[in-house]
Amino acid sequence: MYSEQVMEHFQNPRNMGTIEDADGVGEVGNPTCGDLMRITIKVKDDILEDVKFQTLGCGAAVATSSMVTEMAKGKKIAEATDISNKIVAEALGGLPANKMHCSNLAADGLHKALEDYLSRRKSGSERLPT
């Protein structure tokens, strides 16, 4: 059912864990549906210095989480924003049709983390030192 790449990421996931003092947190999914992803990011000089994931979900959910963090790490914010679910799925050699929603989740999780970072930075920059 799953490609070699998916199984590889499932068996050896990259960037599994949580960044304690994260600059952005993105959580997507729903345990009631059987999947939940939390992506945490650390940003320095507009670059994603570190990206980590925690995932509850099937093989595709784990693999797409792993892949999206691998793709996003080291990228500029603007580049990371361009990472789509399609790109994630393609990088994994494709996913079974009924598993495509898992790839949506991974990309959405990353984008939510990026949004979170940007909104924190925005509200932070309004508090200028006097």
Partner: protein, 387 residues
């Protein structure tokens, strides 16, 4: 598949080599069509009747009450749709449990769309139907009651005899999907008070593609398949001679070995469950603690998801199944677990293990060694498990 530890016997079982041997002559040597009049055909017909006698004997029925089909799904469809149609004058009300296999649920839902009223019998947290609910549900226009003998996911065994008495009093035809129970538990259709009963060969070490429907003599379900005169004109189609012969032999063997197999599987199953509880925290049984098929073990693991566990176990050469959405093929967790009141998020973290003849103590030990690190790894990865 050497070295693969199969723990999914509820899904299907390998054909017993003895059964395969009895089937072989009927493919080439004696390939005749049982409906033909020359000796080859007559031999095939006799083999079919011999198998029919075996099935009847096991169930405590008459041979003419046994009809061969293509499997459990066909038997269930025939019982549900056939009775709904033949009893249309009496009414259109059907009573059905919420934990039936899809092969009963779907025909019932199909009839519901066509205008039949359905009363769904709920189950308690162990998966048991309350016979009193049956009594309350019966109406003058009830034409069929269907409650499965033993559930395929959690193994809970229903109080069929008690329900049968109520059905008889109320004069309602009672069908039971006994696909998971036949060959594993002793069954007598008279004692149970059932009017129709479904069974399937590949669940008790017989071949796939063949099953049977027991239909009590006075009961007439409208045929699903019209055509030739086979099966007393109730189920057309050239008899699957090798399959039927195999089914008969498999049931014969299963009956001989039933007590011994049941005891063995139950012991192994109990050792397995004790071991899992001792090594993995936060696991909970799904199903009745004791009134359950001997080899059945369904449990949920807090904080992680079923398919991920299956993949990891597969990498460790163990085959099991799950009630998670990813494995049911829909976006919802198992309807059986949900019907038992298990919250959806927990239902997604369930594993179904069903032991069988091939299961050994070594298999149990291997599982107990392989599973705890799997649970730990997936829990480390989980955003919600943090104990």
């Amino acid at each position: 598949m050497e070295n693969f530890i199969y723990m999914d016997h509820a899904a299907t079982t390998p054909v017993d080599p003895d059964v395969l041997k009895t089937m072989e002559p009927w493919f080439i040597e004696n390939f005749g069509n049982p409906s033909t009049l020359y000796s080859q055909g007559i031999m095939a017909a006799q083999a079919v009747e011999e198998a029919r006698g075996k099935v009847a004997g096991t169930l405590g029925a008459e041979p003419e009450e046994i009809y061969f089909t293509s499997g459990g799904t066909e038997s269930n469809n025939w019982a549900v749709k056939g009775i709904a149609e033949s009893q249309a004058k009496k009414g259109g009300h059907i009573i059905c449990s919420t934990i039936e296999h899809h092969a009963v649920l779907e025909p019932v839902k199909y009839l519901e769309k066509k205008g039949h009223e359905i009363t769904w019998l709920s189950v308690d947290e162990n998966g048991l139907v309350d016979p009193e609910d049956v009594r309350k549900a019966v109406r003058p226009d009830t034409v069929l009651l269907s409650v499965m003998y033993a559930n395929n996911e959690v193994g809970t065994v229903q109080p069929i005899a008690e329900i049968g008495r109520i059905a008889k009093e109320a004069e309602v035809l009672f069908h039971t999907d006994a696909v998971q129970a036949v060959g594993k538990l002793p069954l007598d259709v008279r004692e149970l008070g059932v009017d129709l009963l479904s069974l399937s060969g590949h669940k008790f070490y017989g071949p796939k593609g063949v099953g049977a429907l027991y239909m009590r003599k006075q009961v007439k379900a409208t045929p699903l398949l019209h055509g030739g005169a086979q099966e007393r004109r109730r189920r057309a189609g050239t008899s699957n001679v090798p399959g039927i012969v195999g089914l008969g032999r498999a049931l014969e063997l299963a009956t001989e070995r039933m007590e011994r197999d049941a005891l063995r599987e139950q012991e192994l199953r109990d050792v397995l469950w004790e071991g899992i509880q001792a090594r993995v925290p936060d696991v909970h049984l799904n199903g009745h603690p004791s009134i359950r098929l001997p080899g059945a073990l369904n449990f949920r693991v807090e904080g992680i998801e079923g398919e991920a566990m299956i993949l990891c176990l597969d990498m460790n050469r163990v085959g099991v199944s799950s009630g998670s959405a990813c494995t049911t093929g829909s976006l919802e967790a198992s309807h059986v677990l949900l019907a038992m009141g298990i919250p959806a998020d927990e239902a997604h973290g369930s594993l179904r293990i069903s032991l069988g003849r091939s299961t050994t103590k070594e298999h149990i030990d291997h599982f107990l060694e392989a599973f705890p690190p799997i649970a730990e790894r997936l829990r480390d990865m989980s955003p919600i498990y943090n104990k």
